[in-house]
Amino acid sequence: MKIEKNKKYLLSKENISSLVQILQKQKFKTIAPVVKDETILYDEIQSIDELPIGMTDVHKAGSYSLKKRKDKALFGYNVGPQSCKKFLFPPKLTLLQTKKIDGKVTVIKSSDPVEKLALIGIKPCELSAILVQDKIFIEGDYVDSYYKQQRDNLFIVTTNCTETAYSCFCDSMKTGPEATKGFDLAVTELIDGKNHRFVIKTGSAAGVKVLSNIEGIALAPDDALALEEAKISSAKNKMGRSISTENLKELLLDNLNHPYWAEIQERCVSCGNCTMVCPTCFCSDILDETSLSGEDSKRTRLWDSCFSKDYSYIHGGVVRASIKSRYRQWLTHKFASWVDQFDTFGCVGCGRCIVWCPVGIDVTEEINAIEQDVEKMKPVEVEA
């Protein structure tokens, strides 16, 4: 049958397996979550057997562990410590090299190769994070050429969430549990007793083309669509966390001097883990390295964190010397100033910063606490 865009089809587990092979035939390196180092990380897979079949990850504030599922779900995990950020915005990227001979310097542009990458089984929050970073790296006045090239070589198979973890709050950030845009294909895994099916939605011409290579597929029947809707809606209702985003920007920016920031400072150790696991954090620093002779020099871009002191250094001193100012910078950036900068929140509600915080600081709790505190401190008009 002719595959069309924005239509939903029914796939079997075998079809998912062929999907991976078709992508490989099209020279895509197929990347998917795998169990590794007692976590679920992204790695290259050859077949769907390498997916974390029957495994899931259990989240708490400051804690992460793996657990066997009762079923054999392919995509039954939440989010691991890594995000897809590393594929488009690598933790370490050579920008350029220079050579100095007799005081004259020549620039050798870096040509770190990009690859055709198919990201398979990434969650909607993860996909949303890519769309957030697109705004930074390719939709502004200046384009990050490496990001752009890699982005143009990306194929995305997202998986809608039918379950959620303790740390999830994508519903608050409007980024999940169902992917609405930005994917080539979106899969919803449906396990109903022994009936293991997948509803797949085409989201792009490339997605249509790939799916057209799978033989004998049909439009998803009504019962599958109904089950899909029920499962996604149940996930939506079981969000681990929630925040109110209404007037959130104003709430935070109007309370930059709120005493609560100092309370967070008592717990935050300024380690920067939250920024490293965050799928949207985009700050970077540059490392200059030189050969012993001084002739060759290299500029490497590295991920940076607003939790480091050097981050705000200007000659003679550090602007954000206190931990509270650095925490405030990070949180107000994600939930307030990001909106001014990029017309979207900088948070996709994946909850990684909650899980990987060594002291279990929960960004949703902190926001709710500030909100309640501000509400409490509002002057109340009393009748005379």
Binding site: V107, S145, C283, I286, H315, V319, Q329, S337, Q341
Partner: protein, 290 residues
């Protein structure tokens, strides 16, 4: 709080390769003070540069094997056969630049950032207040106004330095003093009795301005405290905050809003700034560690 920006991104080859510097050759190095010097750059092999910038913008200067540093452009925006920077030695890269000799190369990325609103100042009195090295980013605006002198009304320049020895652009200031169409006041914070000029902090010079404050625009550049005190002095003189422009400084690394370091709530100083109307940043200036 959205910050108003007057940034007009100049599209150059940098738009696509924003991290790759263009190499320039040092043509001339001139000492200004004990720790400050002015450096002229030209394209190697006598190639003509098509470098254009607006007063107040900056470049990222790259030294092979050392790193990059954002430095405002201090040259004449109308004459573009060379790029001029006035640099104070304050760190590793600026120290490395001082060690370079004529004929050696420096990488340039830029120009970046917003500019002094010289267009908005047309038909107005222009008041320039600069402190220390802060005269360097504002000098291109002075050049611009002098090149189009008939378009502007009174031009007052108030300049303050730490001591008489710390005054930059001495010869130019001396030649300006002789002009009838510029009201120049120079002051120092401390001096011995050989100094015949004014002693006192630069905001106190605001009371010397004689032009009509209601039709004036002010460009203020220097240490942040000095800019805040100058804004107070300009208000006492009768100006409103939206007519006062200042140039802010934060850790600018990439120059194009991609590395995140210079964030100032919703804006990137490197991209939307460094020049802002005082009105738009007055609340942030009161907030510590922002």
């Amino acid at each position: 709080m959205m910050l108003q920006s007057n940034n007009t991104a100049i599209k150059t080859e940098l738009t696509n390769e924003p991290f790759v510097p263009v190499m320039y050759e040092i043509k001339r190095i001139q000492r200004e003070t004990e720790d400050t010097f002015t450096i002229d750059l030209i394209l190697p092999d006598k190639k003509k540069t098509n470098f254009r910038f607006k007063p107040g913008q900056f470049n990222s200067m790259f030294v092979h094997g050392c790193g990059e540093v954002p430095i405002s452009i201090s040259g004449n925006p109308i004459k573009n056969e060379k790029i001029v920077h006035t640099i104070r030695v304050v760190g590793t890269v600026t120290r490395a630049i001082r060690r370079l000799k004529v004929g050696e190369y420096i990488g340039i990325r830029g120009p970046f950032g917003s500019h002094w609103p010289v267009e908005k100042a047309v038909d107005k009195n222009v008041i320039i207040i600069a402190g220390g090295i802060g005269l360097a980013p504002i000098r291109p605006a002075v050049y611009h106004i002098l090149e189009h002198r008939e378009k502007y009304k009174d031009l007052s320049i108030l300049y303050g330095a730490r001591t008489p020895d710390d005054i930059i652009f001495k010869k130019e200031l001396e030649s300006i003093r002789g002009r009838f169409d510029i009201d120049l006041h120079v002051t120092v914070d401390r001096a011995d009795n050989k100094w015949m000029g004014n002693v006192g902090v630069v905001p106190t010079l605001a009371k010397r301005i004689t032009s009509d404050p209601s039709n004036s625009i002010a460009f203020v550049c220097g240490p942040e405290i000095m800019m805040r005190y100058s804004a107070v002095a300009l208000q006492q003189y009768g100006m409103s905050l939206q007519d006062i422009y200042i140039s802010l400084e934060r850790n600018m690394k990439c120059g194009i809003g991609l590395c995140g370091h210079c964030q100032y709530t919703g804006k990137f100083i490197c991209k939307d700034g460094p020049v802002y109307s005082y009105e738009t940043v007055k609340d942030l200036l009161k907030t510590r560690e922002i």
